[in-house]
């Protein structure tokens, strides 16, 4: 009897030990938010990959983290995956679980409102809100950081697309590039000169960027009331502006000026198309193209025809109506679950200072959100020939994608209904709109 009891005790102890270890391992993974080196607070900044990688001297966010660390806190970085949707998945899982080991985040404008609507962000301090609203930041970036009338994140860098073209091709086609051009003019010019227009029309977020720019350029909106919940959301795709956008896409596809593989063309493929000899004509793309063309030639030198490259404002959807170029970039946000929100906002202030934005713009080619940066001599040198001025002007006109918490779903549904580009017709906007509305109401799978 005695013996049996001991055995029972041993069994119980073993079982308890097993349970205990499971719990300990479960807990230990969440450690490491406080402490750091020598009593300093360790702020963890989740960054999207940029040209600087994780190198503290690479000119990217890693360098900003090193330079903005002070005697009170150290900023350490964590790299997020490459694609915007994978970044969203990873951040969302941490935030939904209330992970206190996330302090600062680099957030793509495509899902910044989704996080804000879910209440994952700590409120921006009043002083910073006042500074953001004071007019020193480009308009589109302020718009993209606003949800339901409140500033929810700190504009860090802002991206916009411009129209890149070969001066010789434009001249041959008889296009006057000193005036705004329309998509119809571009298509006609490309057809006349047997050249291509590089666009992004693969099944990915970049396609939604193009569709949104076209709709906005025709005076429409994909979502009329972005702050509404899914039951009350009003879509504006099934409209004259939506059909005009569909007409442009259909025309680019039907005339073949979008290139042979338009349906699988992302930024890189469209840039390759612009570099192809013989058919190189026009391209709508982000400003990184300039840096890329300057190192794409033999031996890392500029391409031989670099002097033939011109740039101007994004094409108009409707003649005479100001173009609404695409908007991109990154916002900085501070997690509500962070134990050091105050320090994190101090760090954000340092990271988004004019000096650091300029340094980041030169280091990675990603344009700053602060207007003052564009007046600096070093920026004008790195983005010559009025390119810096064009970017800041384009940023002021740019239309962010709808700032709806459901943009992720809306975008995927949009891409699916507009793919392949060759199948787009006048009924596509209506079909897409009813599909999006079904998806949002849980009446269709995505």
């Amino acid at each position: 009897m005695e013996r049996r009891r001991t055995r029972r005790g041993v069994a119980l102890a073993a079982a308890a030990a097993m349970l205990g270890t499971t719990m300990v391992t479960a807990c230990s993974s969440s450690g490491g938010e406080a402490g750091g080196s020598g009593g300093k607070v360790n702020l963890v900044w989740y960054i999207n990959p940029d040209g600087g990688g994780s190198n503290p001297k690479g000119g990217g966010q890693a360098q900003l983290a090193a330079e903005c660390s002070t005697s009170r806190y150290h900023i350490s970085i964590q790299l997020l995956p490459n694609s915007a949707s994978d970044q969203q998945t990873q951040l969302l899982r941490r935030l939904a679980a209330g992970d206190s080991a996330v302090d600062l985040m680099s957030v793509d404008p495509a899902y910044v409102t989704q996080f804000a609507a879910a209440g994952y962000f700590a409120p921006v301090p009043k002083a910073m809100v006042a500074k953001i609203k004071s007019g020193g930041t480009v308009a589109s970036s302020v718009k993209a950081s606003t949800y339901a009338g409140k500033i929810i994140a700190v504009p860090f860098w802002a991206n916009t697309q411009v129209l890149w073209y070969r001066k010789s091709v434009a001249k041959k086609a008889g296009l006057d590039m000193s005036k705004p051009v329309t998509w119809d003019q571009l298509i006609a010019a490309a057809q006349k000169t047997h050249t291509d227009i590089g666009v992004q029309a693969a099944l990915y977020e970049g396609y939604s960027v193009w569709i949104n720019a076209l709709v906005a350029g025709a005076g429409g909106k994909i979502v009329d009331n972005p702050s509404a919940d899914y039951q009350h959301i009003k879509l504006g795709l099934d409209s004259a502006a939506g059909r005009k956008a569909a007409a442009v896409i259909a025309k680019v596809a039907a005339t073949g000026v979008g290139g042979p593989a338009m349906g699988s063309s992302e930024e890189t493929q469209s840039l390759n198309l612009f570099q192809a000899s013989g058919s190189s004509g026009f391209l709508v793309n982000w400003p990184y193209v300039w840096a890329a063309l300057n190192s794409a030639g033999p031996g890392g030198k500029p391409v031989p025809w670099i002097k033939d490259v011109g740039w101007t404002m994004y094409p108009q959807t409707v003649a005479g109506q100001t173009a609404k170029p695409p908007f991109g970039g990154i916002e900085l946000a501070v997690s509500k679950y962070s134990n050091h929100t105050k320090l994190a906002y101090q760090a954000a202030q340092c990271i988004t200072s004019d000096k650091h934005q300029a340094q980041y713009m030169i280091g990675t080619g990603n344009p700053a959100a602060a207007k003052a940066v564009y007046n600096r001599a070093d920026i004008k040198k790195a983005f010559p020939g009025g390119l810096a001025a064009l970017i800041v002007k384009s940023l002021d006109n740019a239309a962010p994608r709808p700032l709806s918490p459901y943009w992720g779903d809306i975008s995927t549904a949009l891409q699916q209904k507009f793919s392949p580009p060759g199948s787009v017709n006048q009924n596509t906007p209506a079909a897409a709109q009813s599909f999006i509305s079904n998806v949002l109401n849980g009446k269709a799978l995505l």
Binding site: A11, A15, L92, A117, D229, N441, A444, L445, L446
Partner: protein
């Protein structure tokens, strides 16, 4: 007479599991058994039963993780939507094709391997180790190797096929450009990876076949095929069905290979990928839960068909 009747009653009762007539020893053994297994049982309940029950509850809601305020009870709407959506049936068909195609090939190739391993005496251990290598490779890694082997830029498939067909096969053939080509490569990778598992289970079954019966059949003048079909197969039916059941249930849940190779493009999305898309990418917890419950029910139905329909008894391992 009455005593006998009483006895049979007792035995019947005890057979039905009546607790009243257990001996002290049996009773205390049973209670010790319960106590010993209680922690494991509690952990099992906590990690399996509770999540399953929670998933069933969640599946009745229209619930998005980032929009807790918009949570609505919608009864069975998620199930109705899922089962009437063409995307669900497209993914169902894709999964079904993968299951059937891989199962047939794995069974045939696995049986061939098992027969060879059973007969070969000399490098027995080496052979078994070599056969097991693909199974020890992580599915994601095998997915990537087949992706790189078949893609135009890095792959060797096109070069080999081009060589074999004396140049008739195009070097720039895109294996991931269409539904059937992609599914073919996905199935090949799955077959390559899991055939060893199949052959090991079948080998265990082969080992249970009484060799004297085979010899008797041989003496009676049965051909090899007759011996295989009439003696070996019926005698290893249990092991065979267990192997098929395990592989079927495994194949229904396929995720890694299509995810790595196509990401679900060209209608190659499997049901598991659909569940992951709804739950993790879109954080539509309600719809995702409903889909995973449907997947769970499909697995249950398949298991029931095997266990009831083919009379597979998972508790016996014998061939008879």
């Amino acid at each position: 007479m009455t005593a006998t009747i009483e006895q049979t009653r007792q035995t019947r009762r005890s057979r039905r599991g009546g607790r009243k007539h257990l001996s002290d020893r049996a009773r205390s053994e049973r209670s010790l058994g319960w106590k010993l297994s209680a922690p494991a049982f509690a952990v099992m309940l906590f990690v399996t039963l509770w999540p399953i029950a929670y998933a069933i509850v969640l599946s009745l809601y229209n619930y998005r993780l980032t929009d807790p305020a918009g949570k609505r009870f919608v009864w069975l709407q998620n199930y109705v939507v899922a089962l009437s959506d063409s995307l669900f049936w497209q993914d169902f068909l894709t999964t079904f094709i993968i299951v059937v195609f891989t199962l047939i090939f794995e069974l045939v190739i696995g049986m061939a391997f098992a027969l060879v391993m059973h007969k070969i005496v000399f490098p027995r251990k080496t052979l078994r180790t070599i056969v097991l290598i693909p199974y020890s490779i992580i599915t994601v890694v095998s997915g990537f190797s087949w992706l790189y082997a078949a893609s135009v830029g890095t792959g060797f498939f096109n070069h080999w096929l081009n060589f074999i067909t004396a140049g008739a096969f195009p070097l720039d053939y895109n294996w991931f450009g269409g539904r059937w080509d992609s599914l073919f490569i996905i199935c090949c990778s799955e077959i390559w990876k899991t055939t060893p598992f199949m052959s090991l289970l079948l080998l265990a079954g082969l080992a249970q076949v009484d060799s004297s019966m085979e010899e008797a059949a041989k003496v009676d003048g049965a051909t090899w095929w007759q011996r295989f079909y009439k003696v070996i197969l019926p005698n290893m039916k249990a092991a065979l069905m267990v192997a098929v059941l395990f592989r079927t249930l495994d194949a229904i849940r396929i995720y890694d290979n299509p995810f790595i190779m196509t990401g679900g493009a060209n209608q190659t999305q499997s049901l598991s990928m659909l569940v992951a898309d709804e739950t993790i990418k879109r954080v539509e917890i309600g719809m995702g839960s409903a889909l995973s419950v449907i997947l769970f029910i499909i697995v249950l139905i398949v298991a029931a068909i095997f266990v009831r329909g083919f009379r597979v008894d998972l508790t016996t391992t014998g061939g008879r």
